[in-house]
Symmetry: C2
Subunit: 293 residues, 2 copies
């Protein structure tokens, strides 16, 4: 069995690493926050002092980090993965990051004789704990085949989309659809509420037709209950839409409603609501029209 | 059995009336276009010369018309329903129209001792033919109960939402969600396509997660096939978003993305694409970024 390096032991990374341990893999783990390492360290999860040490001691290195600069630091920084990793190793970045960063990492590792995959996930901490994440993968067939047993421990809906970067593009598309579908539900339910019509009944009726979506179901229920506890935080979704708009600029694309939704999230963050669930987009739609809690 | 008046025998109304005939109801039918009447007239569907005549000869009058002015003309016009309808009759407007018009019609009929329902539908001509329309109903419990056997002939997902107008509010919410979900899918898939990633695979991956929607499924497939044959025409959806924005103005609501989607549809109509399916919203997203067929 391959020795798995795991870097990034936060809300997502920690349960993902735990699931690998449960599946009887041997891990070498690292996080910039010492307590996160201590929590998981055991006979089967050796604590490392740096990303470099993780890379030296593993055959497969997985990263699960918050944002592009974190991945850059872990790969290219002093005591980074690039210095320690051996040819023939496999590098899997499961973070959601900029396409440009993802490609830069891929190219640098190729030069060292290391195959890599971009494999961002969706499903949140609930999916990470249950091992039911959706995993969207870009990279070569061989690398995908090598990683598949690990993905099957961490996720359920695992799709090899295409070439390097294709995983990040897919995740970005996912985040655009989710944000704009929340906006769709938010505008519709605000109109219903202001009309004095029962939003629970409208949600039921709409779930039976073309307006059906998982967002109308799950986030519609959150809106009914006025439950904006995350779930997936506005500030993280805002980061992801930033990635979408960066890709759009690089490719020369105008994504009107995506830009608008990013600005709405920006406003919510400015109002101190960045820690709320992304279904709280409706709070801005309501506030624009003078509706307050 | 009640005698059913049916006014408006177009793409939707004609198959709905046919289903009532098949269910062994006796109909009195009228349309402003003589050929539409001739096509359906038979021993069980007596042709009337005016809306007034329909109202005089029926216990229940159903209207299925394109827009608010058509309903106003049929109800309030010379030889209109209001002149002929008898107290104790039931009036059911299944058109998608402005909330203000719907309430005006309701009030005028109440003064004549006539109960009425607003009962707009979704599901298109396919649903109308199959008798599987979703029907969203506003009005009193008694009126709903009286109409239910008729609704069950024409539709499947039949929900009594609430007071008069609640059906129109629900339909409006439905049209907002559908339009903005198409926009969501259009922006995401345009980014994917321009990235050179396979949009069929991305759609598959996204259908397994939070981005799932009936629109991503059905309209995503249309987009894959570049099949913009209606379905539901841009110009009709544009009309419905006009109703949404009118309600929003009346209620004092700012619906940012709804207004934007209405403008996008406006642009498509200006470009001569109003007869295409509403999934062709993606053509505008593409054109904005200089992508052409």
């Amino acid at each position: 069995m391959e020795t798995i390096g795991f870097i990034g032991l936060g809300i997502m990374g920690s349960p993902m690493a735990q699931n690998l341990i449960k599946a009887r893999y041997t891990l070498v783990v690292y996080d910039i926050i010492k307590e996160c390492v201590n929590e998981i360290a055991s006979a089967r999860a050796m604590a490392a002092a740096s990303a470099l040490e993780v890379a030296e001691k593993s055959n497969v290195v997985i990263t699960m980090l918050p944002d592009s600069p974190d991945v850059e630091a872990v790969v290219f920084g002093n005591n980074g993965v690039l210095t320690g990793i051996r040819p023939g190793s496999l590098f899997i970045d499961m973070s959601t990051i900029a396409l440009a960063t993802s490609k830069k990492v891929y190219n640098a590792l190729q030069e060292k004789g290391v195959e890599s995959l971009d494999a961002p996930v969706s499903g949140g901490d609930v999916g990470a704990k249950a091992g039911t994440l959706s995993i969207m993968v870009g990279g070569s067939d061989e690398a995908f085949k090598r990683a598949l047993p690990l993905f099957e421990v961490m996720g359920k809906n695992i799709v090899h989309i295409g070439d390097p970067g294709a995983g990040q593009v897919t995740k970005t598309a996912n985040q655009i659809v989710v944000a704009l579908t929340i906006q769709a539900v938010a505008e519709a339910l605000t109109l219903v509420k202001k009309s004095g019509v029962d939003i629970a009944r409208v949600r039921d009726a709409l779930l039976g037709g073309f307006a059906q979506s998982r967002i109308l179901d799950l986030h519609g229920q959150r809106i009914l209950e006025r439950n904006f506890k995350p779930g997936f935080k506005i500030k993280l979704h805002h980061k992801d839409l930033g990635i979408a708009l960066q890709i759009a600029r690089e490719l020369g694309l105008s994504l009107n409603n995506t830009a608008q939704a990013a600005e709405f999230m920006n406003a919510l963050i400015a109002q101190g609501k960045g820690e709320l669930d992304h279904s709280s987009l409706i709070l801005l739609v309501e506030a624009l029209s003078g509706l307050t809690e």
